[in-house]
């Protein structure tokens, strides 16, 4: 790394929250909206979620069916690769563990590709969506998730940068290898750990 930038001292450190990973700032009341496609309108009547690929049993849920599963809540922080974080949020939905238990992954499954109703994809190690660390969510801070933020439902993998938390999620495909998704093919990191600043390939 090069030396310091002339005349730059950083404005925000005195009050820097220890929950902020390196290079992130607190977006406070803002929740920026960033996605590459026109915002889709997906009715919950037509919404489905499917787990397929290397599983014993491919399973699909309708909106009503997924709501009938045991509820699970995430309370904590989210971190976007564009350097904003939001602290102390609450998301409600269902744990991905619950969904995977119904489909029963094969021993050969090592990775997943999350797929959206828009065609967006993002790849994750299977271990990053199991063990109580990933959800399919439909409420944020007690309100239904708006379409700009991925409503009716999005994936939530809050320990990774937020592009992994696919908006308008339609399913998970289990694979025996890593398969870069939309942003990952465009130079973004395959894992995306904010505490290691894994923003781009090679970080």
């Amino acid at each position: 790394m090069a030396g310091p930038t002339r005349g730059f001292f950083g404005r925000n450190r005195a009050a820097r929250d220890p929950r902020l990973p390196p290079g992130q700032y607190d977006a406070r009341d803002d929740w920026p909206v960033l996605h590459a496609e026109a915002t889709p309108r997906i009715s919950s009547d037509r919404w489905t979620f499917t787990i397929e690929g290397l599983v014993e049993q491919e399973v699909s849920w309708t909106w009503a069916e997924i709501h009938a599963l045991p509820a699970s809540r995430y309370s904590g922080d989210i971190h976007c690769v564009t350097t904003w974080s939001k602290l102390g949020m609450t998301f409600d939905g269902v744990s991905v563990d619950t969904l995977l238990a119904a489909a029963r992954p094969l021993p050969s499954a090592t990775h997943v590709v999350a797929v959206s109703h828009t065609g967006y994809t993002t790849n994750l190690p299977l271990a990053d969506v199991t063990g109580g660390r990933a959800w399919v969510v439909w409420d944020a801070d007690g309100q239904p998730l708006t379409v700009e933020h991925g409503g009716p439902a999005r994936l939530l993998v809050p320990h990774l940068y937020f592009w992994k938390s696919a908006k308008w999620v339609s399913g998970l495909r289990l694979l025996d290898h890593d398969e870069p998704g939309f942003w990952e093919r465009n130079g973004y990191h395959d894992r995306g750990d904010p505490w290691a600043e894994q923003r781009y390939q090679g970080d």
Partner: protein, 242 residues
């Protein structure tokens, strides 16, 4: 599958390098263009961006992404246009401190989705600072003698807020104002409407929309209402990024 990314960002382009500030130029009172010389030049695509990283003496860093305004070329130099945000740690540094001769750490070019290859019909719609990546596309089209391929619609708050005001005008460009139009303008100030978009539509275009989320969603809604295929709309949204 409506999203078709290209494999255009390579590991090599993601190494940090120390760029020299060659020139500083204000486009508007709140928008400043930096011309940077790159020790390791890397040819970019129109629409790509660079990351700018500032480092404090104690190692604290702040990074933000900025679109490239200049056309792809072989000069080894790029231009980034940076809007000053009220709470922007990086943009305020750029506006208050940077002078020619400074060294700034950058990496890029990055991005393979919101890029125009230079030889296909394109409808470019930008709001505010969202014009910056579209300017790279317009400059590429004009320099290659293919301005006929592009239609550019720019939305600015007022004439004083229009980026590249001296360079934009041409038969392929249209400027609309949302808050205050120049005296004598045929179109009164107001947000983008179907009537603004309709004259720009031709077959076989891809649309590149860039601006705030509100602007991008309004523009894409107008396009979809006009029958434009939604899968041919590419959007780059500018959140508050400091």
């Amino acid at each position: 599958m409506t999203l078709t990314p290209g494999d255009t960002t390579h590991r090599r382009t993601l190494r940090w390098q120390s760029a020299r500030v060659l020139a500083v130029h204000d486009e508007t009172p709140r928008a400043r263009t930096l011309r940077l010389g790159l020790p390791e030049p890397r040819r970019h695509l129109a629409g790509q961006h660079y990351v700018l990283r500032l480092t404090a003496p104690d190692g604290y860093t702040a990074s933000r992404s900025y679109s490239i305004a200049s056309a792809p070329d072989d000069t080894g130099e790029i231009e980034l246009t940076i809007e000053r945000l009220d709470d922007g740690e990086v943009s305020q540094y750029v506006h208050e401190v940077v002078v020619p001769g400074d060294e700034l750490e950058v990496r890029g070019p990055i991005g393979g989705f919101f890029v125009w290859p230079g030889h296909t019909p394109a409808l470019l719609i930008g709001g505010g600072s969202g014009v910056v990546p579209l300017m790279s596309m317009l400059r590429l089209a004009r320099r290659g003698g293919r301005a006929d391929l592009v239609r550019l619609l720019v939305s600015a708050r007022s004439p004083e807020d229009l980026y590249y005001a001296g360079e934009l005008p041409g038969p392929e460009t249209t400027v609309i104002y949302t808050r205050r139009a120049p005296a004598g303008a045929a179109r009164s100030a107001g947000r983008i409407t179907a009537a603004d978009v309709a004259p720009l539509l031709r077959g076989e275009q891809e649309a590149y929309l860039c601006g705030s989320t509100g602007f991008a969603d309004a523009a894409s809604a107008q396009l979809v209402a006009a029958g434009f295929p939604v899968e041919k709309i590419k959007v780059e949204r500018f959140g508050p990024s400091g």
